[in-house]
Subunit: 170 residues, 2 copies
Amino acid sequence: MSGAMVTRSRSEELLFLTDEQLRQGIELMFFAYRDLTSEPDEILAVQGYGRAHHRAIHFIKRRPGITIAGLLAILKVTKQSLNRVLRQLIDDGFVESTPGQEDRRQRLLRLTAKGEVLESAVSNVQRDRLRRAYSEAGPEAVAGFRKVLERMIDPDMRATALNLVGDDIA
Amino acid sequence: MSGAMVTRSRSEELLFLTDEQLRQGIELMFFAYRDLTSEPDEILAVQGYGRAHHRAIHFIKRRPGITIAGLLAILKVTKQSLNRVLRQLIDDGFVESTPGQEDRRQRLLRLTAKGEVLESAVSNVQRDRLRRAYSEAGPEAVAGFRKVLERMIDPDMRATALNLVGDDIA
DNA sequence: GATTTATGTCAGCGTTATTGACTAATCGCA
DNA sequence: TGCGATTAGTCAATAACGCTGACATAAATC
């Protein structure tokens, strides 16, 4: 009889997830995300740029040679929204767009030297914050942090989020 | 001589935080935050509401009786921005605003019964997602998740984020 | 009584996102 | 070869949401 009790899964065993605990987790995400993005926002505001530019620069840095379609799939915004931002970045010389070799309809996006400088300035403050948090929390906490975040992401985006796809494709 | 080596702090001992690791952490935050907020956004869009309404409803639910100033301090937006959102929520009967008893200049904000229903619908999908992630990742991962997030938040907002202040004040 | 504080409101602006419609170049296949 | 699908770029209109500045009102505090 008591045997039935010990067949509980690990999640049932130790996790009693109250409303309060979950709400607190949601708030932690809200505050952490806001503070993680506030400093980059300020730096980019000087150029007249916003968070949309930040996101584009970030993913072009991470996936040089990414196509428009690839960027659209990651950002999940419309073509029109992305186009305005990209137009500015290209016109201002931060991003270069070259036709694909195999498929010449595609536009392959890369940061220019100027773009690398801007990206670096922006991502430095962000990485400093995360590095500090990681260091203070310790390696085991970092592993847990990553584990939970991964599982919060829609399954179909997890591979993308973890860079399990090639660096130069979408 | 070797004694000097073992006095390294825990963070120096095991954490070799590469650029790549940190950038991946930043992306995890981006994807997780987006997916955590996308479903609530869709639900609220039916009412013609957006994320700003969601945030207001969330914090009024969590801190019933909060003042305008308290909400402004948490959300870090301007009075004018918040007012537009709050005006709609009050006019539509989701939020009630009553003068403070001690300080009658203050407006104490609470959800109405109708507001509770909306809040519940919205927060349910969000809590379901987080509960699933917590369960799959396990208790230790959850502890690490919380630990890192706390340390990402600006120090002056940590107490607020962790609800270390009274529920009915700011 | 004068000042400060808490709140509300008006007008205007900019960014970022949306939808819809359309063009142009290129690719792939029948 | 030619037609449909794909990739990208663009124009126009709309909306949410943030901002600044200016101003009004009521109430608390000194």
